[in-house]
Each structure stands twice: as structure tokens, then as C-alpha cells.
């Protein structure tokens, strides 16, 4: 089976509650989801991600724009004719059916042989580690097991388009990482074009080829997890993606004697870079800008010799990483290391930022200017 391509063209969703102001849930959304690609719609509640998924599934009309599957408009078709498989968090299992029957039910309208249906149910049950509960009824298994069964019902169909709404929120922490890997492998090997809605960036990063970050109904950036981390389009994406979040520092710009200096407004330290470190293009762009916002990821804020003076407020080791928080004027910055380090509270430390790790944003609009010396 060939994988499908899904295209959203200038899609709007406006809710018009009677007697109230209209609510714009999704504004001018265009996305091109390639055949076999896994895309995550990521954002906090109310960002428009679930409305988008419901429009693709056919549970909601589009207010404007078009949705095409392999070139054919589907936004006017009833849900059942769109060839879409779904696992919804709130999409409950049928209580009178066993887990096995629930999963098999998704294949009822297929023309598969009984043996093939059995093989497929067995395959997804193994993958999701629910083989031992197949003959139980939903009410008698845990929330995590119910959610895995719901996922099984979506995966078993090998549909052209697979829609997953917060599919892993209830999963047992001991299983989560393993199942993420297996599900990704499964979707890949079945060439299922997949759209995953989640508020959990860990899940989006783990599963998705590309992530569409949404806020207030507007697409902020649609890019790979690495691009979102290394080249966030604006301050919102920069601050939203990454755990712990990016350190953001207001700075005054001073360009003289072929150096660019960023004077941090908190703590008073000055970062100085040469043209060869951050590029002439950035220097020219910064000319005339008085203030910018500097961004640096916690992993890139390095302890040791450096121009930034700060005072340790806490040092926490989490097994595979250390989080050091330090006060810079009235704000707190965070440095993360893969190593175990000890930095007692109260100690004066210095920190550095390698020019390759420096993000520069316009303070007023939040738009990215440059990442690691490369212009945005």
C-alpha cells in the first residue's frame, strides 16, 4: 500500500456560539504532510491542535480552506469515507467487547481473511504488551492498558492516515520509552502517514519526523525536532521547546572595534564576540538595534571559565544529568550537564556561551535574528 500525502491549505476554524462573539480556533493553517511522515501538532490547551485533528477526521467542518488526501479534497466527505484510523484519549473502548474483540472490531469492514485478522491483532498486541489481557473486558484492566488497547485498535488497521489524539498520556512510565520506539518503528514499516496531537513535547520529539508548534490558533513553526531546538523561529518556540526551558537574557548591544558586546541587563556581565565568531552579517543586522534578547539552552550554558558571573542557588543531580541553577541579578539561569557535578549553593561561579550556541531574538517582536552566528 502506498503511503498518503495530506495537505492542509489555508484552513480556518471559527466557532460561532449563539449570542456570543465568534471564536477563531485555527487561523490560516497550511501544512504539507509527506507520505509516510509522522507529524505532531504540539501546543498547550486551546492552541487549536485538537480542532485541526477533528477537521481532518471529519468531526468538524472547516470554516475556510481545504484538506486534501493524495490530491483529493476530503473535507466535504463524511468521516467514515475518509479512510482514517484513530486513537483518541477519550475514545473509549466498547465495554461489552473484550480487548481482543475491540481491536478486531476495527477490521470488521475490511475484506481480510479470518487468519489475517488474527495475525494482525496478535502483532499489535505483542507490540503493545497486551497479549495477556486480550480476553479481559475493558472495565477490568488498568487505565494504561485501556489506552494501549485503544492504540492497538488504531494501529491494527494499517490505514492510509492514522490520527492519534494524546495517545500515550496514561502509559505506565516503565513502558513509555520502549513503546514510543516500537510504535515509531511500526508506523515507519507500515508507511502510515500519521498525525499525532499532544501537549507533551517529550512525546512529540520522540515520535515525530516534524512538529507543528501551534499557539492561539496560529502555526508558529513546522520543522524537525532538531530544527526546533537549534533554530527556533521566535521567542515563543524557543521558550516552549526544550526541558528545562531556554535561558532568555535581555541585553544591550554595543558594536565597536570589530567586536559585538552584549551587556546583560541582569547581573551586569558582558559577552563579547568577534566577527569571526558570530559573523559579519549578524553584526550588520544588529547595528541600530539597542536591545535584543539572548537565548541559550541550559546544556549550552557551560560552567567554568567565562564572562558571566553568577551565584549558585541550587544543584540537583537526577541520575543521568545535573541541573545547576544560578542567580544572575534578580533572575535565575539554569545550566545542565550530562556529568555529575557538585556546586554548593552560595558559591560564585562563572559561565560561558560558545558563539555556536548563541540565539539572538528581536526583543519587541520576538522574531529570531540569528542562531549560532547563522542568520535566521
Amino acid at each position: 500500500m502506498m503511503a498518503s500525502e495530506l495537505v492542509l491549505e489555508h484552513v480556518d476554524k471559527v466557532y460561532r456560539p449563539r449570542g456570543k462573539q465568534p471564536v477563531v480556533a485555527v487561523k490560516d493553517l497550511s501544512l504539507d504532510i509527506r507520505p509516510g511522515e509522522i507529524t505532531a501538532l504540539l501546543g498547550s490547551s486551546g492552541c487549536g491542535k485538537t480542532s485541526t485533528l477533528r477537521m481532518i477526521a471529519g468531526f468538524e467542518d472547516v470554516s475556510a480552506g481545504a484538506i486534501r488526501l493524495d490530491g483529493k479534497p476530503i473535507h466535504t466527505l463524511p468521516p467514515a469515507r475518509r479512510g482514517v484510523a484513530m486513537a483518541f484519549e477519550a475514545y473509549s473502548l466498547y465495554p461489552p467487547l473484550t480487548i481482543r474483540e475491540n481491536i478486531d472490531f476495527a477490521l470488521r469492514s475490511s475484506r481480510l481473511s479470518a487468519a489475517e485478522r488474527k495475525r494482525r491483532v496478535h502483532e499489535v498486541a505483542e507490540l503493545l504488551e497486551i497479549s495477556d489481557i486480550l480476553d479481559k473486558y475493558p472495565a477490568f484492566v488498568s487505565g494504561g492498558q485501556q489506552q494501549r488497547a485503544g492504540l492497538g485498535r488504531a494501529l491494527v488497521r494499517n490505514a492510509k492516515l492514522c490520527l492519534l489524539d494524546e495517545p500515550m498520556g496514561q502509559l505506565e512510565p516503565q513502558l513509555r520509552a520502549m513503546l514510543r520506539g516500537r510504535i515509531k518503528h511500526f508506523l515507519r514499516s507500515h508507511a502510515s502517514t500519521t498525525i499525532l496531537v499532544t501537549h507533551d513535547q517529550t512525546e512529540a520529539n520522540a515520535l515525530a519526523d516534524r512538529i507543528a508548534v501551534m499557539e492561539d490558533g496560529v502555526l508558529q513553526q513546522y520543522a524537525t525536532p532538531a530544527e526546533l531546538k537549534n533554530r527556533p523561529a521566535n521567542l515563543f518556540v524557543g521558550a516552549f521547546i526544550g526541558e528545562p526551558p531556554m535561558n532568555l537574557l535581555a541585553a544591550r548591544v554595543d558594536i565597536s572595534d570589530s567586536r559585538i558586546r552584549f551587556a546583560l541587563e541582569e547581573g551586569g556581565s558582558v559577552l563579547a564576540f568577534t566577527d569571526s565568531e558570530i559573523g559579519v552579517a549578524l553584526r550588520d543586522r544588529l547595528r541600530g538595534l539597542e536591545r535584543v534578547t539572548i537565548g541559550v539552552r541550559p546544556h549550552a550554558l557551560r560552567l567554568g571559565e567565562g564572562p558571566i558571573r553568577a551565584r549558585v542557588s541550587s544543584c540537583q543531580w537526577l541520575g543521568d544529568q545535573t541541573h545547576v541553577a544560578a542567580e544572575l541579578g534578580t533572575m535565575t539561569v539554569v545550566s545542565v550537564s550530562h556529568e555529575k557535578i557538585r556546586a554548593p549553593a552560595g558559591r560564585e561561579i562563572t559561565l560561558s556561551i560558545h558563539p555556536n550556541d548563541l540565539h539572538v531574538f528581536e526583543s519587541d517582536t520576538g522574531r529570531a535574528i540569528a542562531h549560532g552566528g547563522r542568520m535566521a
Binding site: G181, R182, H299, S313, Q316, L318, D320, H338
Partner: protein, 362 residues
């Protein structure tokens, strides 16, 4: 003498034991995190110490005094809860002041409230009613109320459960200093292992009503007493595989892993091997002792690390967690060779699930 002493405490509801043989000490200024999955009796333990439940057996002493006949309000205990439990008809100020009202003059109350409010950065919202506060402010108000009366014992029942991830992270950084300043002995309940490791001087791991291990975060992570404890700490969770110690080595279907000398004492023993994903490293070639050949089934980034789902020749699936910034990360479908760093390899008796100590004792 410890500020809080819990000795052989037990609690049953309708003859169902909920807690058994709990012994725990906490000193002034110490943060003990009571950690375990839901339903293991964490909240019941706090309620027993607060005097809201009566123990079925055992004793609780605070500051050297037995609490058996002491009512809750006289125990010197402050509490905060995950649902905040603020009085809806009172302002934030009055909520924080409520535990001080009976015992102090108004001037003392005012100064007490403003001091703790400042510490928690809510001094600007003291005149607000709870419904006007954000979840973060509610949670700080609830903490401030617990701290206001300078309790000897501070009981915090998953206070960050209902706040968003960003605030939870900020509070995780701030709380240890705040709690230490209070001088109270703190019992802090959570189900989040990272929160437990970040906050605790010692972690008390509670499983099925029994304390499995009470130790520093370091000891819990690097020398878990049992497989059950090992599986609760770490993200991704520890890899687990049945195995056997033969000739001082660990015999897996896919490789023979050299072990520290002390493990020879367990030759012939059936074990469960626990392998931390961050201890699985890419190896240069198959001739490295203990090397395992595998195929990368999936690549799943996890913050600044990348998790690989690997499948060995025998069909064994396991996870490796590599720093994303280090050597090149292989792609899905690639064939790789990995080796296991000894520090992240833990062996447990297959019958009992207890840790086999690398020095051969146990």
C-alpha cells in the same frame, strides 16, 4: 535525637494492611521524600503523622514526645496538599494567617504572614481571593499557610501535582532552600522520581505499604536494593533481562558480559540483569569484551539525549540513551555494536528480586 521518629508503624483498614512496619527518622532541616506509585500508602503515612488517622500499631514521636494522645492541632505539624485546599471565602492573607490566629497577637500575625509571603513571592496578591489566583499562586499560598506557623514537622502531599511543567520545574529549584530555611523536618510526597531526586536529602521508597529502601538519591540510583526500586528511577526506565552468572561473567543470549571480580561469588545463580539505558554506549567493534551487535529499530530524541530502540540477534529489545551532542547518532535501520558500562549494570536475584552486591556479599 531526631525531630520526628516513626517506629514500627502499621495501619490497616478493615483488616487490610495499608502500611506495615514503617520506621523512619527525620531531623530538623532535613527533607525526606516519600516516593512510590499511587496506592502505596504515602498519603496515609502523612495522615498518621498529622494525627488525622490512628495507627493500628507502632508509635510516632515528635521532638521526643509520644504523639499517641496528642490531637492534631497540638502536634506542631503543618500540611499542604496537591489540591491546595484553600478556604474559598478568605483572602490569600487570611488563608496564610489562619493557623496563627489562635496563638498570636495581630501584629505578630501580620509580620509572620508578610515574611513567608515575601519568601514565596506572593506578597503582591495577599488581598486576592483564591478564585483570583493562578494555580501557581494557589499552590504557593497553600505552602505559605503550611510554613506560617513554623511547624516542627512539615508534611507536603504532592504539592506540585497540579501546577504546569514550567512552574513545577521552577519550584523544584526553589523549594529545597525554602524548606531548609524553615528549620522543619520535611516529609514530601511525590510520584515523580526526578522531583524526588532533586529535592530529597533522603528518599523513602514506599511500595505496597512497605519501605523498600531509605537512602540518599545517589544510593537509590546507583545501588538500588531491589529490582522494584531500580525500575522506579530513571528515564527511560532500566532495561531488564533474565540471565545467569557463569564463571564470573553475565551470560546473555547475545553476549557474555565481563563482571567485577566480586560477582564470582554468585556463579551459577539465576539473575535478572538491570541495565541503565545511559550505560549502553556505542562500541568501536565486536571484539570489545561484552559487545552486543544490534539493529536500531527506532530513534527517539529525549531532550538533550537520544534514545535508541535496539534489537539484538536473539530478538531481545533494549534501550540506549546517548547524549545528542556526542558522537554521531545512528539512524533507524543501522547496524551497531554496543557495550555496557559496569556502573550502570545492576544484578538482582531472580527469586527474591534483591540486589546482588558487587562485593559478593548478599
Amino acid at each position: 535525637m531526631a525531630l520526628l521518629e516513626v517506629a514500627s508503624l502499621a495501619k490497616s483498614f478493615r483488616k487490610e494492611p495499608v502500611l506495615s512496619n514503617i520506621s523512619l527518622r527525620a531531623n530538623a532541616g532535613e527533607i525526606i521524600v516519600v516516593f512510590g506509585p499511587s496506592g502505596t500508602g504515602k498519603t496515609v503515612l502523612l495522615r498518621l503523622i498529622a494525627g488525622l488517622e490512628e495507627p493500628s500499631a507502632g508509635a510516632i514521636a515528635i521532638d521526643g514526645r509520644d504523639m499517641a494522645d496528642v490531637p492534631p492541632e497540638q502536634r506542631g505539624v503543618g500540611m499542604a496538599f496537591q489540591n491546595f485546599a484553600l478556604f474559598p471565602h478568605m483572602t490569600a492573607f487570611e488563608n496564610i494567617a489562619s493557623p496563627l490566629r489562635s496563638s498570636r497577637a495581630n501584629g505578630m500575625v501580620n509580620s509572620g504572614v508578610s515574611k513567608v509571603a515575601k519568601l514565596l513571592k506572593i506578597d503582591h496578591v495577599l488581598s486576592h481571593a483564591p478564585r483570583e489566583l493562578s494555580n501557581g499562586q494557589k499552590q504557593r499560598t497553600s505552602l505559605a499557610r503550611a510554613l506560617a506557623a513554623s511547624p516542627k514537622i512539615l508534611l507536603l502531599d504532592d504539592p506540585l501535582r497540579n501546577v504546569d511543567a514550567k512552574l513545577r520545574f521552577e519550584m523544584r529549584l526553589e523549594l529545597p532552600r525554602l524548606l531548609r530555611q524553615s528549620g522543619s523536618a520535611v516529609l514530601y510526597v511525590t510520584q515523580d522520581y526526578k522531583e524526588a531526586m532533586a529535592l530529597a536529602d533522603r528518599i523513602a521508597v514506599l511500595l505496597d505499604g512497605v519501605l523498600e529502601q531509605v537512602a540518599t538519591p545517589d544510593e537509590i540510583y546507583n545501588a538500588p536494593h531491589s529490582l522494584a526500586v531500580a525500575r522506579l528511577f530513571g528515564d527511560p526506565s532500566i532495561n531488564v533481562i533474565d540471565s545467569r552468572i557463569e564463571g564470573g561473567r553475565l551470560a546473555l543470549a547475545d553476549a557474555t558480559i565481563p563482571l567485577e571480580a566480586g560477582y564470582s561469588a554468585y556463579n551459577g545463580r539465576d539473575v535478572i540483569a538491570g541495565i541503565r539505558p545511559e550505560a549502553v554506549a556505542l562500541a568501536s567493534d565486536v571484539n570489545v569484551p561484552g559487545a552486543i551487535a544490534a539493529v536500531v529499530e527506532a530513534v527517539t530524541p529525549l531532550n538533550e539525549r537520544t534514545v535508541l530502540l535496539l534489537k539484538a540477534q536473539s530478538g531481545w529489545e533494549f534501550l540506549a540513551s546517548l547524549p545528542s551532542s556526542g558522537a554521531a547518532i545512528p539512524e533507524a535501520g543501522a547496524r551497531v555494536v554496543v557495550a555496557i558500562r559496569p556502573a550502570g549494570l545492576h544484578l538482582f536475584d531472580r527469586e527474591t528480586g534483591r540486589r546482588l552486591s558487587p562485593d559478593g556479599i548478599g
